[in-house]
């Protein structure tokens, strides 16, 4: 299942845009808490799969977008997302070669790191948010990871 398209940039931006839409789509409260961070998953996918095409710039830009749409301190999501993007880019070959269950665990760890950075900055900037519900999306994000990668692969693998 080799990639023949060598220019995933357009697709990358398109999928990131879809991820953003899924992130801000209105949902009932309980569903919104379960909702995985789709944009973060998309960025992770591309940083593992195509580390040179998007990489840190994609992570940073998506993070800033999230800051604007979530009404957070400018730079908060950008820092968190750049950090886990960096880990993903650095270790992309190792992560890529792992079977799905281990990939899910790695994604879970990355998402927890991401949320922890957000949590720390929330506290630092005087908007503490200690509800345990904020961590839920890390688990659901890891759970949907195989599905998300399967879907994202379809965007650039000709069938």
């Amino acid at each position: 299942m080799n990639v023949r398209h060598l220019e995933p940039r357009g697709r990358m931006l398109l999928t990131a845009f879809v991820g953003l839409i899924l992130t801000i789509l209105p949902l009932p409260q309980w569903l919104a808490i379960l909702r995985p961070a789709f944009l973060v998953l998309t960025v992770l996918y591309w940083s593992i799969g195509a580390p040179r095409a998007g990489g840190l710039a994609l992570g940073f830009a998506s993070g800033l977008t999230l800051d604007v749409f979530r009404g957070a301190v400018l730079g908060q999501h950008a820092l968190a997302l750049t950090t886990i993007t960096y880990v993903a880019v650095r270790e992309h070959q190792k992560i890529r070669s792992k079977p799905a269950p281990q990939q899910m665990l790695i994604v879970l760890a990355l998402l927890i790191v991401y949320e922890f950075i957000l949590f720390a900055i929330d506290g630092w900037s005087g908007h503490p948010m200690t509800s345990p519900l904020r961590w839920v999306h890390a688990a659901t994000g890891a759970l949907v990871w195989p599905l998300a990668t399967a879907l994202l692969e379809r965007t650039h693998t000709p069938r």
């Binding site: 789509l25 040179r52 400018l74 730079g75 750049t82 070959q93 890529r96 200690t130």
Partner: protein
């Protein structure tokens, strides 16, 4: 991830630097951004523009549910409309009955206060805004409304519905504004219990229909059914508007304070239309610092004598020591986990 072959992508020009170096750059940039946005507030204009830029997408995302509501309204049956009409007529009759003696009572109140005439209403004018159905930050309780600075909306403006207080505006864009609801865990409303006049603070719990009153002592005179009104302290909300009704009072022997929950009167869980209210600043029931909250924000940090505690306050001019933002961070243990 089997979809990629290693080295399938050619390195793009200008990307010769190592990821570690670029990560450091981006991280420093992000931290700098946070610093100047948070501590210096230099990015207010940038945020204003960004909020404006984000609004079309937010509007587009909310359009399906908007369209669904429009469809429902368009194809409402005659019977449903008639029922609604009948209900509205009876509600209006009830309201008129209740307000019949309002003029006389207002004059009487003015005379009791030693004024020559009745006080005008504290609400100067208001504007209806619609809620844009879009996700902001899920464990927090925030909504986006479709009115912004172009419509005269300002920061920390009071947002209500016909039943009671809903919240206040937080970040105002050109055509939209973020509203922090009173149930947000970060939000706190200075309230007084209508029956006893006891003043306290109602903080949000993060649930859609519950406030907590963590700062009342265990022996406070409060019981289920008591009405909570805004107390006028804190500089955002004017005095005397209904906020919530006490639903639960629990005395825990180990806790020094009573565990009190209240249910907001405003329909926070299914609101589509809200009202932005402008208040008269020189009215006695106006929010305590009689400037607009936005300018108070600037004035507060200094030791301005006008904001120091004053002796014998005529009703609303109590010490405005609390920040102009009624939404102050609350101790999480008390705010987040009610009984």
């Amino acid at each position: 991830m089997p979809g990629f072959a290693a080295g399938a992508y050619r390195p793009s020009p200008g990307r010769g630097t190592s990821p570690g170096f670029r990560f450091t750059l981006y991280a420093i940039l992000a931290v700098l951004l946070m610093f100047i946005d948070q501590r210096r507030g230099w990015l207010t204009d940038v945020r204003y523009v960004l909020n404006g830029a984000a609004y079309p997408l937010q509007l587009a995302v909310s359009s399906p549910s908007e369209a669904w509501r429009w469809l429902q309204a368009t194809f409402a049956t005659r019977a449903a409309l008639e029922a609604e009409n009948a209900q509205l007529v009876s509600e209006q009759r009830a309201l008129e009955m209740r307000s019949q003696r309002f003029e006389a009572l207002a004059r009487e109140n003015g005379e009791l206060r030693g004024l020559r005439d009745a006080l005008p209403a504290v609400a100067d004018h208001w504007m209806v805004a619609e809620v844009v159905e879009v996700e902001l930050d899920s464990p927090r309780r925030r909504v986006l409304i479709d009115r912004g600075a172009r419509n005269g909306v300002f920061k920390n403006q009071v947002v209500m519905d016909a039943h009671g207080l809903l919240g206040q505006t937080m970040r105002v864009g050109p055509w939209s504004a973020e509203v922090i609801l009173i149930t947000d865990p970060e939000h706190a409303v200075p309230v007084e219990i209508e029956r006893t006049g006891v003043r306290t603070i109602a903080v949000g719990t993060g649930e859609s229909q519950a406030l907590a009153l963590p700062y009342l002592p265990a022996n406070a005179d409060v019981k289920p059914g008591d009405l909570l009104l805004t107390s006028g302290l804190g500089g955002v909300f004017p005095q005397g508007y209904p906020v919530a009704r006490i639903t639960e009072v629990r005395h825990d022997t180990v806790q020094p304070s009573a565990q009190i929950r209240a249910r907001p009167l405003g329909e926070l869980d299914r609101m589509h239309e809200v009202m932005l209210v402008w208040f008269k600043n020189d009215h006695p029931a106006a929010p305590t610092p009689t400037a607009t909250a936005a300018s108070v924000n600037k004035d507060l940090p200094s030791g301005d004598p006008a904001y120091q505690p004053q002796p014998v306050p005529p009703p609303p001019s109590k010490p405005a020591k609390s920040t102009a933002l009624a939404a102050k961070p609350t101790p999480p243990a008390q705010a987040g986990t009610g009984p």
